[in-house]
Amino acid sequence: MKLRYFAWVREQIGRPEEEVELPEGVETVGDLVRWLKTRGEEYGAAFEHEKVVRAAIDRVHVKPAARLEGASEVAFFPPMTGG
């Protein structure tokens, strides 16, 4: 699965994207965040305020309870500030 990061989430993690193999038991976006936080300080910093970070599955906004099954790309980013 491809993970993509934007804005300060990208800066804190230190890379714009990566490929990951999901371990057993990681079934939702919320599970994925909790697993990422175990992978290093940079993830801990990016997801320190878990509820602030938004997610999209295959370029559509989703909530933390959204299931990852069938997803090819999951993105994490701060609340949007365009316009």
């Binding site: 934007f6 993105a75 980013f77 949007m80 500030t81 365009g82 316009g83």
Partner: protein, 148 residues
């Protein structure tokens, strides 16, 4: 007319001319042009950089266009957003709505901007005298969206 993402500046008047050329059914054109302000969200700024999520940005703006067309009798819609580095005075975003009558055109343009602010994947980083700083999302933008 749909959705455009571009790094270059745009000309609002030229876009309105293009959208209305040769048409005799349009009674109302509403346009909103958003500009980069010197008094930014983080203080006085020299410039800002707009980051976006390529692919999702186009798709999300397309979903906003579809929703606007479903809610109001629109004859055409244009949503144009820039990315990259902008300086104060530069145009950032353009929304143009065309309808037979003004009420639909006004409402649809307002709706598109309110949703764009909170759901289109763009992020502003402002450059002020303390260095670069990400702009924080505003609760007032969420409130504006929730009116619809």
């Amino acid at each position: 007319m749909a959705v455009h993402l571009q790094e270059e500046p745009f000309d609002t008047g030229a876009w309105i001319d293009r959208l209305t050329a040769g048409r005799t059914d349009v009674g109302a054109v509403v346009s909103f042009t958003g500009l980069c302000r010197a008094d930014g969200e983080t203080g006085t700024i020299q410039a800002m950089t707009l980051e976006h999520y390529p692919g999702m940005a186009e798709e999300e703006l397309g979903r906003l266009e579809d929703e606007a067309r479903a809610r109001w009798p629109l004859l055409d819609v244009l949503i144009l957003h820039r990315y990259g580095r902008l300086v104060p005075g530069d145009p950032i975003v353009l929304v143009v709505t065309l309808s037979s009558h003004r009420a639909a055109a006004f409402a649809a343009a307002d709706f598109v901007m309110d949703y764009l602010k909170t759901s289109a994947p763009f992020w502003k980083k402002e450059e002020n005298e303390r260095g670069p700083q990400w702009v924080e999302a505003k609760a007032s933008d969420d409130a504006a969206r929730d009116r619809w």
